[in-house]
Symmetry: C2
Subunit: 314 residues, 2 copies
């Protein structure tokens, strides 16, 4: 089990160390990347050596996060993970870094796989914690680049301040970050508005496939393997949230064809239904409002099975 440490203890630990490797989780998102690059920039500003490692390829959309970072060669000493709840999420880097020195995280489910753990499960994003930490490392460290990294994490993890994890602190920190003068509106376009032509095409097909059940309380969309060919994870994820957005819909279901006769099903619920309970019936899992499972067989049979289970709870 990790040793739980405070912000102040973490700052002291970092100030006393050097030659940092900061690791992101697999399927890297704005929070793990933004937090890692912000911390890397801050440590470099303190004349320490630091680099970021990511177990998977990073979407080009996030290239700007590296803009304040200097590439440095050094012998690695102090290993930090950011926003990584479980060692398994280190993916291809897990073997090389079995017990990192420190994890900075906001997941209540953190498994305590590092020597030290700075955890704040009230924080909407790991970047909120990294922000408070950098402030303790010294004054004058935060640049507009670091601010834009931290903003990236907070805004993406809160769905641009829309999700229920958004707190007064999220807004208060964002206000402070904006004072550093990065191009916030440009970043918002990049992160939340821009849609590729492939995405538009997929949305069109998804909407065409929409079916409604139980007097409109259940909406289902179907994405065949053919439709999914050109789509990336981010697009598919965004599209899976579409059925639930429809007025009157309590449960949104997305059928995604993985291969002939194999379907990945995403279930998103709105107010009262437990998506996890439904998916657990088919060996899947997740959270109360968002869960998933795999199901095999003829499409119509699979849909009937899922709908029968939904009917028991709706």
């Amino acid at each position: 089990m990790s040793q739980a440490i405070s912000l102040k203890e973490t700052a002291e630990l970092l100030l006393a160390s050097d030659n940092f490797v900061i690791i992101c989780h697999a399927s890297p998102d704005g929070d793990t990347l933004g937090g890692a690059f912000a911390l890397c920039g801050a440590l470099q500003k303190l004349q320490k050596r630091a680099k970021v490692r990511v177990p998977e390829e990073v979407s080009e959309r996030f290239n700007y996060l590296k803009s304040g970072i200097e590439e440095q060669e050094f012998s690695e000493e102090f290993i930090i993970t950011v926003d990584v709840a479980d060692a398994a999420l280190l993916g291809s880097l897990q073997d090389k870094y079995p017990v990192p020195d420190l994890c900075i995280d906001h997941h209540v489910s953190n498994t305590g796989y590092t020597k030290n753990l700075l955890l704040d499960s009230e924080a909407a994003a790991a970047c909120e914690i990294v922000f408070e930490l950098i402030k303790l490392l010294g004054s004058g460290i935060i640049s507009s680049e670091i601010a834009s990294c931290l903003y990236t994490g907070i805004s993406t993890d809160t769905g641009c301040f829309r999700f229920s994890n958004t707190t007064a602190a999220s807004h208060r920190i964002t206000a402070e970050l904006m004072e550093y003068g990065f191009d916030c509106a440009g970043l918002n376009y990049l992160l939340f508005e821009m849609r590729t032509k492939q995405r538009i095409e997929l949305e069109k097909k998804a909407l065409e496939s929409a079916e409604f059940y139980f007097s409109g309380r259940c909406a289902m969309i179907t994405l065949t393997g053919e439709m999914l060919k050109a789509a990336d994870d981010e697009d598919i994820n965004a599209i899976s949230s579409m059925p639930r957005q429809i007025d009157g819909v309590e449960v949104g279901v997305t059928f995604k064809q993985k291969e002939e006769g194999v379907w990945k099903v995403s279930i998103r619920t709105k107010n009262y239904m437990n998506a996890q309970v439904i998916c657990a019936k088919f060996g899947g899992g997740g959270h109360q409002r968002a869960a998933g499972c795999r199901i095999t067989g003829d499409m119509q049979d699979c849909k009937t099975k899922i709908l029968t289970e939904i009917e028991r709870h709706i």
Copy 2:
């Protein structure tokens, strides 16, 4: 011309008066409504009499704004407009209230049609100004209902903190508002996520109609009168912003059929093109990034005319 007054002077004026009518602008949005109902609630809390008047029907989506308000009968004395830049925007109420006592606004274009004017053109929303004003009226006035009204104005006018008008102050005020404990995530769903089935249907048809020009730098969608029958203003407005959201698109054009041979054209640009200049060519107007015009004739001819003008600037 209006007398420009400060926040403090405005607070003194309100504290010295009673029997308020607070008026919203026509085509009422979250900011004019949120600001008016917040101020009404605050004045009632001060044991004054106040009511809100709106020149047009209010979308049911905004019903919750009235939840803290008591219906009161009284003889009207002090007339306030909120977020109303021009007397013409009072619509059907303009004749009854030719020179209101006070306008609270954030539009730099305010025409000064009221006796007194509290203007802050740096504010992202009129609700930011109303918030500061209510704080000066006394302590303990802001309830969770008032906070949710003010949040509505700030979040809608900033596109949920995405638009370039969002400032550090917008976030700082929002942080303060969240401390009053309203259901922020529920409100965000209502304001930004919920889409009616009609809207989904219209989006689908809009996407099907998409055409691309100038190597993908111009995207055009066409909404026929038939498609627009069941749609409301809010939906059409949201859909007009879709073409510009596509990756690589600098100018998004939406053709909306008003009647046979009559088209309303919305032009939204991203980075460098001036939408207003293009629309001015056809007798229209607007802003640099969003403008509109009316054009008559055969659909294909109309499109060619617009595209020819766009080609000169793209």
